[in-house]
């Protein structure tokens, strides 16, 4: 199977993910700056971004390393931040799971919040999309998210204080996540899941090593699914009544 079998879908993926360039550029440059400030050299900064490609986990690891936390605590806390990607990985199976092992290995390496969220929304909106097109679309998303990620981490490390702190570049991170989930709030189960997610994130914020995130995400998934099951039962009952 070719990497980009469907050129049109590839370009569409690039287009649909392009708004995130605005986020990825300052975010990765910020990581480069903060990491250099923490005493890492340029090779270390770029290697970390290329090996891990997960901004939130990299920031977590970096700040714990700076605090001198034990290595296993650093690893546990930052891997807990990334556990969400197991859920992304599962959610992608029905759409691109049929790809060859080599392609799946590559698609796993570049699986990030943006590529997951944007591509799954497109797949769900277009159930008739053939798998080749879905895979090409996925790589289109990756191209505009991951390439700037590498390049701007390097530039951030090289240029130092390229983005002034007065512009609050830290705020680009929550804004990015909001931009990813706000358009998903299209049905009652989605709204309930998001509400449970927020409430549980507050309730479990005291759990050590970011485990609150995992607990909140699992509870919210169950809540969304339960509301959907309830809606289906209600629709089935209504259909039965009108039948009688």
């Amino acid at each position: 199977m070719r990497l980009i079998a469907n050129r049109q879908a590839y370009v569409q993926g690039m287009k649909d993910c392009s708004p995130f360039i605005v986020i990825v550029v300052p975010f990765s440059a910020l990581f480069g700056m903060v990491a250099t400030d923490a005493g890492l050299n340029i090779l270390q900064v770029v290697a970390m971004s290329a090996i891990v490609i997960a901004g939130s986990a990299q920031f977590t690891a970096l700040s714990l390393l700076q605090e001198g936390a034990p290595v296993f605590v650093v690893l546990l806390a930052s891997l807990a931040v990334n556990m969400r990607m197991a859920m992304y990985s599962a959610a992608l199976v029905p759409h691109i799971g049929g790809a060859s092992l080599g392609l799946r290995m590559l698609m796993a390496y570049v699986m990030v919040d943006q590529t997951y969220a944007v591509s799954v929304q497109t797949y769900e909106a277009n159930p008739a999309m053939p798998q080749d097109a879905k895979i090409s679309y996925y790589f289109g998303c990756i191209t505009v998210v991951c390439l700037p990620w590498y390049i701007c981490t390097f530039l951030g490390a090289l240029l130092g204080q390229a983005v002034p702190a007065s512009l609050s570049p830290d705020f680009a991170v929550p804004v990015c996540f909001i931009a990813l989930f706000a358009p998903m709030l299209r049905s009652l189960p989605h709204l309930v899941a998001a509400g449970v997610s927020i409430a549980a994130a507050v309730v479990f914020s005291g759990l050590p090593w970011n485990f609150g995130l995992i607990v909140a995400a699992l509870l919210a998934m169950v809540a969304g699914a339960q509301v959907e099951f309830w809606q289906r039962r209600r629709a089935a009952r209504a259909a039965q009544v009108s039948h009688d």
């Binding site: 090996i51 290595v71 599962a90 199976v93 799971g97 944007v118 909001i178 989930f181 998934m221 099951f229």
Partner: protein, 109 residues
């Protein structure tokens, strides 16, 4: 100062661990058909994970010393409304733009 050996150990183990997490289901399940109850849960992964990631960043922003910042809260609400009604691009521009506008206004007061 972060010790060189510690840095590489953390980076490599974190990289391998993260890769295995990403590969997990997609790699091992491949094209297998998943049961309906599981698919129903997976539909809510995005709205289950992302709000829980955002919430502490808005309530206790590190750049604000971990203290609540009403400006960041307002800008986050604006981004949410814009993303919901208008789409991704607007969420980003209105989110960042409203924070800068609010900070600028407060700077005057």
């Amino acid at each position: 100062m972060i010790d060189n050996g510690t840095f590489w150990l953390v980076t490599l183990v974190l990289g391998i661990g993260t890769y295995l997490i990403r590969f997990s289901f997609l790699g091992l399940l491949g094209g297998r058909q998943l049961p309906d109850w599981l698919l129903t849960h997976l539909r809510y992964v995005g709205v289950a994970v992302l709000p829980a990631m955002v919430t502490p960043m808005i309530l206790w922003p590190a750049a604000h010393g971990g203290a609540f910042d009403p400006l960041r809260m307002l800008a986050a609400m604006a981004a949410l409304a814009a993303g919901w009604r208008l789409g991704v691009m607007w969420a980003i521009f209105i989110g960042m733009g409203s924070l800068w506008a609010l900070q600028w206004l407060v700077g005057f007061a």
